[in-house]
């Protein structure tokens, strides 16, 4: 009997040790990061910028894989069903992960299927008009759109995306009606705006910063003025309480054990608080963030409330 007790005790202690060692030794192999969009996009740029720091933090390779499709829905559906051991994580965009489960069919995930480790950056969405536009300030734009309901062409990427909702928010707060023109990528919006084929666009700050001299940037949706666009007022300053933006970062399936979550969170926080990382992101037109799990989820919930309200206001299906 005694021998069995010893065996049992040893087994119990080893089991406990292994379980805790699991978290302590994480990661013991490469971490796979699923990019829901094509190479070269904003998620990719952020991921690549983080890669060297993350590899140091994890002491393991940080492998970036691409799984584009359905505007990100393909990757996120797969990520929600992935093994929750912390070795498979992925990028995300807010508001996409909120909007897609509501408006797209056959999407196999919900925004609360995930634990968000960190929001790494966001690109505020701002308003720009074409170079030879008759308006020069935001106020003039508001009057112009009110005087020509439904005639002003405002470009953006996709339906049920951050750009679309920024346009809706603008219409709600101003009472004007613009014609939303759907493009399939930021570069298409860029070409159309630079070529004067559309009148205006609600678009990412990265585009506003890059094409600064070829368009007129009227306003930007960050809470404070962006350092890269010091002379551009925010929507808030102009009396429009809207903060449209696309936030990106890393997330994983919800069921990842809490201690492993913490390890991953710490790696991202260490990376995003590096000063040279921040500088790189700012130069490219992003607003870098340092947010952990709790803050990120709070952000997600706040955005979800705004967006669901907008969807109701505009009776979107």
């Amino acid at each position: 009997m005694n021998r069995w007790k010893v065996v049992g005790l040893t087994a119990a202690i080893s089991f406990l040790l292994i379980v805790s060692a699991g978290a302590q030794n994480f990661p013991t192999g490469p971490i796979a990061y699923m990019n829901p969009f094509n190479p070269g996009g904003e998620v990719d740029i952020a991921a690549r910028a983080m890669q060297p720091y993350l590899e140091k933090a994890f002491a393991q390779p940080f492998v970036i894989n691409y799984l584009p499709g359905a505007g990100g829905a393909l990757c996120w559906s797969k990520l929600a069903a992935a093994k929750p051991d912390g070795y498979t994580i992925g990028g995300f965009s807010i508001p996409h992960i909120i909007l897609q489960p509501i408006f797209m069919k056959d999407v196999a995930y919900k925004s609360d299927d995930f634990v968000i480790f960190s929001i790494v950056e966001y690109t505020p969405i701002g308003l720009a008009v074409k170079k030879d536009s008759p308006v020069n300030t935001f106020k003039e734009f508001v009057e112009y759109t009110k005087a020509n309901p439904g005639k002003i062409n405002c470009g953006g990427v996709g339906k049920f995306t951050g750009h679309h909702f920024a346009t809706l928010q603008y219409m709600k707060l101003s009472g004007a009606k613009v014609n939303y023109v759907t493009f399939q990528g930021t570069s298409e919006v860029q070409t159309a705006l630079l070529g004067g084929h559309i009148d205006a666009a609600f678009t990412n700050s990265t585009l506003l910063v890059t094409s600064r001299d070829q368009i007129k940037v009227l306003a930007v949706g960050s809470p404070q003025r962006m350092s890269q666009l010091k002379d551009i007022p925010t929507f808030e300053e102009l009396g429009f309480k809207m903060y449209p933006r696309i936030a990106r970062g890393a997330m994983g399936p919800k069921a990842i054990p809490k201690d492993i979550q913490k390890v991953i969170e710490k790696a991202f926080l260490d990376t995003t608080s590096q000063p040279d990382f921040k500088v790189k992101m700012e130069k490219a037109g992003f607003v870098p963030q340092v947010m952990g799990i709790a803050e990120s989820h709070k952000f997600l919930e706040a955005e979800a409330v705004t967006i669901k309200q907008l969807a109701k206001d505009f009776d979107l299906k």
Binding site: N38, P39, G40, G41, D44, I45, R48, A49, Q51, P52, I64, Y66, L67, P68, G69, A70, G71, A73, L74, S77, F103, M104, K105, D106, V107, A108, G150, K151, N153, G158, K159, F160, N179, V181, T182, F183, Q184, S187, E188, Q190, T191, A192, L194, G195, G196, H197, I198, V209, T210, S211, R212, D213, Q214, K280, K283, A284
Partner: protein
Amino acid sequence: MDLWNHILLGVQVCLDPLNLLFCFIGVVMGTLVGVLPGLGPTAAIAILLPNTFHVSPVTAIIMLAGIYYGAMYGGSTTSILVNIPGEASSVITCLDGYQMARKGRAGAALGIAAFGSFIAGTIAVLGLMLVAPPLAKFALAFGPPEYFSLMLLGIAILIYLAAGSILKALIMAVFGLLIGTIGMDSISATQRLTCGLLELCDGVGLIPAIMGLFGVAEVIANVEQEIKREFVTTRVRNLLPTLQDWKDSIWPMIRGGFLGFFIGILPGPAPVISAFTSYAIEKKLSKHPEKFGTGMIEGVAGPEAANNAATGGAFIPLFTLGIPSNSVIAVLLGAFMIHGIQPGPMLIANHPDLFWGTIISMYIGNAMLLVLNLPLIGIWVQVLKVPYPILFPLILLFCLVGVFSLNYSKVEVSLMIGFGVFGYLARKFQFEMAPLVLALVIGPMMESKLRLSLVISHGSPLIFVEKPISALFLLISLALLISPMISKIGKRRQKLQKIVEGEEV
């Protein structure tokens, strides 16, 4: 002269041993990737991107650019040898290139493809050097209406590709357009014909379609024909093109080079469009259009030159405006940003060493590719001597692995096999594949531009004729469509049809 100083700067940058090494690695990787079906330059660039973090941005861009135009060189090899395009842009090369190979002239075809690509690459680089900024403005003038009209012109040109019955070509083209509608609608994001499969949300992939229609179907067709030994036993004479070949090809190459360069500036799938436009033009200008599709060297020289030149043209919007013309350039753009370089109009002014260094590296890269590819022709041709029972299962394996490695999607592999069976059946009834593939490429773009134009014009179709460039393309399309009805050309067409229908496939 300022230009001379710039060139000297570029040469200085290029002759740095590290840059030369990375250029070499880039073009070799590019060729490899172009030869392998499925894997494309986008994937190769994305995979190699992390390795460039430890070197300067100039070195990184030189290598990554090398991969891009290297892939165009490589893509023609499998098209000519085994009728399987390595890249979408090499589909056209299959038409005459493979026929040349069947007649024992694979060496000449490969040689002309290599030389044509080199000459075109040089034209493109010259163009880049001399006219980059004004041309960029030209690209901007193309809005959705202009694109739609251009795509419509492309469909009209498709008719000229048809060696045989126009009706059959049109049927395949319409089928291609239909397949192109599968997926999420570009304007309202509704899912069409996706049967609940998320994988089909972005439409039927081009690679599974091409691999299936050309690769798998070819294997099945050949297996059925019980392996014609005569192909293998024909001694491959003339590994290099003859003087006659050169005389025939030089003008198509030059025309293709210029054409490809200008089309390359426009955002979109430029290499594909320039290749088949070049083919159509060469066929129209030729004294023997009926021979196209049976192994005319002009049908290889022109398109190959065009698709290489298009890669050069695609760099213009990147360097001058910071706009990516296609997915490969988008990755390059991302690489710029990761290396801390701000893309946009100020790029050339702020980073002259980057711009001029890359341009001169393209000359050197093109030369390296020529030197690399010519001796390899002898080796590639040996591949043809591999007995079919071994060769074809290998090809099938490459196709399966290639498609699966893209997105790890079983749906895509099933699609490929489905296309393969369809392609085999279509061949039996003498339907051509090329119109279907090209419609698949053009169709989605045409539809999205059409609807975008109508949204912008608030529903008025007059926008297509109000815009001058758009109106011009529409006029040319109309002319092309009407021309068969004019008796002189109509008779020629009928003659051509009779000749082709009479032959066995």
